[in-house]
C-alpha cells in the first residue's frame, strides 16, 4: 500500500474498529440470538427458527404490526405534506419569517419523553388543551388516548406537531430551485398553483423521496412517546413497544431479536419498493 494510503487507513482505523465492535459484531450476535431461547440472564439455547415461527403465530405481533402499519400509512404522507407546506410558507423573505422558521423547527429538537408528557396534558379528556378549546365551541371532545377509536388520531396529532423536523431539508431544496423557472412561468401567465404544481413539486421530488424513506423508517421505529403514553385497547402498542416489552418485561431476548430482524426485513422491503417507484415520480437531471 502506498504511504499516503496507509496513513489514511491508520486514521480511519479507530472508526473501523468501532464499526466492527459496536455495529457489525452486535448485528452478527443479534442474528445468532434470534435463533436461541435466551432469557438475558441464563445461557442461550439454540432453537433454530422457532422464534420466527412463534412470531408469525402471535396475535400480539399481528396487532402491533397493524397498529404501526396503519400509523405509518397515515402519518408519513401527513408529515410530508405538513412539512412541505410549512417550508413553502417560511421560504418567503417576509419580515419576521426567521422567527417562524425557528418556531416550526423547535419541536424536532425537544426530547421525545418531554413531548409525550406535554401531550399527555394536551390530550387530557377533562382538562386538556384541545378539549378545552373544543368546549369553548360547545363541542365535547373525545377521550383521546383513553378511547381506542381516538388513539390513532392522538398519535397523528403528535406526529404533525413534530413535522417541522424535515423543514430544513425542504427549505434547502426550495432555495435550490432556480428563480428563472418561476420568472419564465410568470411570463407565460402561470398562476401560483400552476407554479407549485409544475415547478416546485417536481423539483422537490428528490427531497420528498429522501424524506419519504426516512419517514417510513421512523414510523416503523416509533417508540418513545408510544412507550410513555400507550393507548386504550392496546391501540398504542406499536411494534417497537411490543419488541421492547418482550425483551425487557418478559425476558424473551431471543424472540425480541427475531422481532427486530423481521422489522428490519419489513423496512428494507418497503424501502426497496419505494426506491423502485422512484423512476416514475422522482425528478432527476
Amino acid at each position: 500500500m502506498k504511504k499516503r494510503q496507509r496513513a489514511g487507513f491508520y486514521f480511519i482505523l479507530p472508526w473501523l474498529i468501532g464499526l466492527i465492535v459496536f455495529t457489525a459484531f452486535p448485528m452478527l450476535a443479534a442474528a445468532y440470538i434470534s435463533l436461541t431461547d435466551w432469557d438475558i440472564v441464563g445461557n442461550a439455547k439454540f432453537i433454530g427458527l422457532d422464534n420466527f415461527k412463534n412470531v408469525f403465530r402471535s396475535e400480539e405481533f399481528i396487532k402491533s404490526l397493524w397498529v404501526t402499519f396503519r400509523y405509518a400509512i397515515l402519518a408519513v404522507p401527513l408529515i410530508i405534506a405538513t412539512s412541505l407546506t410549512m417550508a413553502v410558507m417560511v421560504s418567503k423573505n417576509y419580515k419576521g419569517m426567521r422567527i417562524f422558521r425557528v418556531i416550526y423547527y423547535m419541536p424536532a429538537i425537544v426530547s421525545g419523553v418531554a413531548v409525550a408528557i406535554v401531550f399527555k396534558w394536551i390530550l387530557d379528556p377533562s382538562y386538556g388543551l384541545i378539549n378545552g378549546v373544543l368546549s369553548f365551541f360547545h363541542i365535547k371532545g373525545p377521550d383521546w388516548l383513553y378511547d381506542p377509536d381516538w388513539v390513532l388520531p392522538s398519535y397523528l396529532i403528535m406526529a404533525m406537531w413534530g413535522a417541522g423536523g424535515s423543514l430544513l431539508t425542504y427549505l434547502a431544496a426550495l432555495k435550490d430551485i432556480p428563480q428563472d423557472l418561476y420568472d419564465a412561468a410568470m411570463i407565460d401567465g402561470a398562476n401560483t398553483w400552476k407554479k407549485v404544481k409544475y415547478i416546485t413539486i417536481p423539483l422537490m421530488t428528490p427531497i420528498i423521496f429522501y424524506n419519504l424513506v426516512l419517514g417510513i423508517i421512523a414510523a416503523f421505529r416509533k417508540f418513545t412517546d408510544a412507550y410513555v403514553l400507550g393507548g386504550a385497547g392496546k391501540e398504542g402498542n406499536f411494534y417497537m413497544v411490543y419488541l421492547y416489552e418482550e425483551a425487557f418485561s418478559h425476558y424473551r431476548m431471543g424472540y425480541a431479536t427475531a422481532l427486530a430482524w423481521i422489522l428490519f426485513a419489513i423496512i428494507l422491503l418497503l424501502t426497496i419498493i419505494v426506491n423502485w417507484t422512484k423512476k416514475y415520480w422522482v425528478y432527476s437531471e
Binding site: Y10, I40, G42, D124, Y146, E245, F248, Y251
Partner: protein, 423 residues
C-alpha cells in the same frame, strides 16, 4: 518518523477505547448493592449503608450503585454481562422469574441457620413473597400492605358512619358507603366514594370474592372460579354505578392520590407508606381534613386480608454459599427495618412510629392488618399472565362497565394454563 508517530497515535486511541470496556477488579470483601433509590431516598440509603460499613469495622464493605431509571433493564443487562451487582433490590413479582433464570443465590440454608434473622421472625404472608420452589431467594426488607384511608371530616359532614380501625366490614358495606357519598356536593365539588384507575391492583378484587389467580401449587390457574368472578363483580359495580371517577378522568388531576388529597373522593386504597399525613399537615387550614384508617373489607368468607407489596434484597448467584456476603446481606436488611415502613418482621411494628411519628394515628390498623398481609403467588410466567389481566380484563372493564369480564376470565385462565403446561 511521521509514520511511527501515526502508528503510536492510532495505538493509543485503540487502547483507550478498549480500556473503557474493561471490568474493574475489586476486593473479595467489597460488595456492590444496586438500588432504585434516587434523590432523598438515595441519601437515606447511603446513610444506612455507611452505618452498616461502620459496624462491619473492615470485615466487609458495601458500595452503592444507584439505578434510578430502567432499573430492571440495567440489572438484567449487567447479569447478562456477567457483571451482576452482588446485592440488589427485587420486587416480589420477579423473585420466581430471576430464581428460575439462575440469577439469584439460594439462601435457604444460611437463612434457616442464622443466629439473628430466621424465617419464623417474619410475617408469613410477607415471607412467602421471597419463596419459590421450596427455597428462599432473598430477604424481604419492607412490607407495604394496602389499607383504606378515608376522609373522616367528609364522613362526619355527610353524616356517614365511619368504619373502625379494625373493622370487619364487607365489600357490600364498602360499596354502600360509596353510594352514600358519590354524587354529593362537598366543598364545591361533586365527590365520589372511592377511586379506581388500575389501582388497587386486580388481585384486590379477585381476592375480595375469596378467589385467587394462581393456586398455592404454582401450577394451577384458578382465575375462572366463581369466587374470583364475584370479586370482579364488585369492581364492575363500582365502575357501573359511577362510584369512582371515570378512568379517562383520573389523570386530569395528575394521579389518583391527588383526588383524595383534594377531597374529591371519600376513601382511598393506599399502601401504609402513603404519606397523606405530611401532605395534609402542609395544606392551608381551609383544605385540611382528618384522615381515618380502616383495614380492607373482608373477603366474602369473612376472613380479613390485605394485599402486601414487598421487595427483597437478593444476592447474586455467584455468591451462593458465601457466608461473608450473607452476613453483609443480613446486616443491611436488619438496618432497613429501622428505615422503612413497615418492617416485615414480627415484634418491630413500633418501628413504624419511630420512623414516621405521623403514622401513630394509623397504628391500630397497621398492627392489625400485618397479620393478614399477603402477597400473590407469583410464578415465572407472571409477566405474561399479568399483561392479559391488565389489558384484556382490568382496562377493558375500566373503559366499559358492561364488558363481559366473566368470559374474559375464562379465556385468561385457559391461556395461562396453556402457558404453564409449556414449562
Amino acid at each position: 518518523m511521521k509514520r511511527n508517530i501515526l502508528i503510536w497515535i492510532v495505538f493509543l486511541l485503540v487502547l483507550s477505547m478498549l480500556n473503557g470496556c474493561s471490568k474493574n477488579s475489586k476486593d473479595k470483601n467489597t460488595f456492590t448493592f444496586a438500588t432504585w433509590a434516587a434523590g432523598t431516598e438515595l441519601e437515606e440509603f447511603q446513610a444506612v449503608i455507611d452505618k452498616v460499613n461502620e459496624e462491619a469495622a473492615g470485615e466487609y464493605k458495601i458500595e452503592v450503585l444507584s439505578i434510578p431509571s430502567d432499573y430492571y433493564v440495567k440489572i438484567s443487562t449487567k447479569i447478562a454481562a456477567k457483571n451482576s451487582p452482588d446485592f440488589f433490590w427485587l420486587t416480589q413479582e420477579l423473585i420466581s422469574k430471576y430464581a428460575k433464570m439462575g440469577a439469584l443465590a439460594d439462601i435457604t440454608e444460611q437463612f434457616k441457620h442464622s443466629d439473628s434473622l430466621t424465617p419464623d421472625m417474619y410475617y408469613e404472608g410477607v415471607l412467602a413473597s421471597a419463596e419459590y420452589n421450596g427455597s428462599y431467594w432473598g430477604l424481604p426488607w419492607i412490607a407495604n400492605p394496602i389499607i383504606v384511608f378515608y376522609n373522616k371530616t367528609m364522613f362526619d359532614e355527610l353524616g356517614i358512619e365511619c368504619p373502625t380501625a379494625t373493622d370487619d366490614w364487607t365489600w357490600e358495606e364498602f360499596i354502600d358507603i360509596c353510594r352514600q357519598v358519590s354524587g354529593k356536593e362537598y366543598k364545591g365539588n361533586t365527590v365520589y366514594g372511592t377511586i379506581i384507575d388500575g389501582w388497587p391492583n386486580i388481585e384486590t378484587f379477585i381476592w375480595a370474592g375469596g378467589g385467587d389467580i394462581i393456586a398455592k401449587d404454582g401450577e394451577t390457574i384458578v382465575l375462572a372460579s366463581e369466587e374470583a368472578k364475584k370479586g370482579m363483580g364488585y369492581l364492575q359495580t363500582i365502575i357501573k354505578e359511577g362510584l369512582s371517577p371515570r378512568y379517562a378522568e383520573v389523570a386530569s388531576l395528575g394521579s389518583n392520590n391527588v383526588w383524595f388529597e383534594k377531597q374529591r373522593v371519600a376513601m382511598f386504597f393506599g399502601g401504609v407508606q402513603d404519606n397523606f399525613e405530611t401532605k395534609v399537615d402542609k395544606m392551608d387550614e381551609s383544605e385540611k381534613f382528618e384522615i381515618g384508617y380502616a383495614p380492607m373489607p373482608v373477603c366474602d368468607d369473612g376472613s380479613p386480608w390485605s394485599f402486601d407489596w414487598t421487595a427483597s434484597t437478593v444476592m447474586a448467584k455467584s455468591l451462593e454459599g458465601n457466608d461473608l456476603a450473607y452476613k453483609a446481606l443480613e446486616a443491611v436488611t436488619k438496618t432497613f427495618f429501622e428505615w422503612k415502613i413497615v418492617p416485615p418482621v414480627k415484634g418491630s411494628i413500633n418501628n413504624v412510629i419511630k420512623i414516621n411519628p405521623k403514622k401513630e394515628v394509623a397504628m391500630e390498623t397497621i398492627a392489625y392488618i400485618m397479620d393478614y398481609a399477603r402477597s400473590a403467588n407469583y410464578i415465572p410466567e407472571w409477566s405474561d399472565i399479568n399483561d392479559k389481566l391488565w389489558y384484556n380484563l382490568y382496562v377493558s372493564l375500566l373503559n366499559d362497565a358492561s364488558f363481559d369480564y366473566r368470559s374474559q376470565m375464562d379465556e385468561i385462565q385457559a391461556y395461562s394454563q396453556d402457558l404453564i403446561s409449556k414449562r
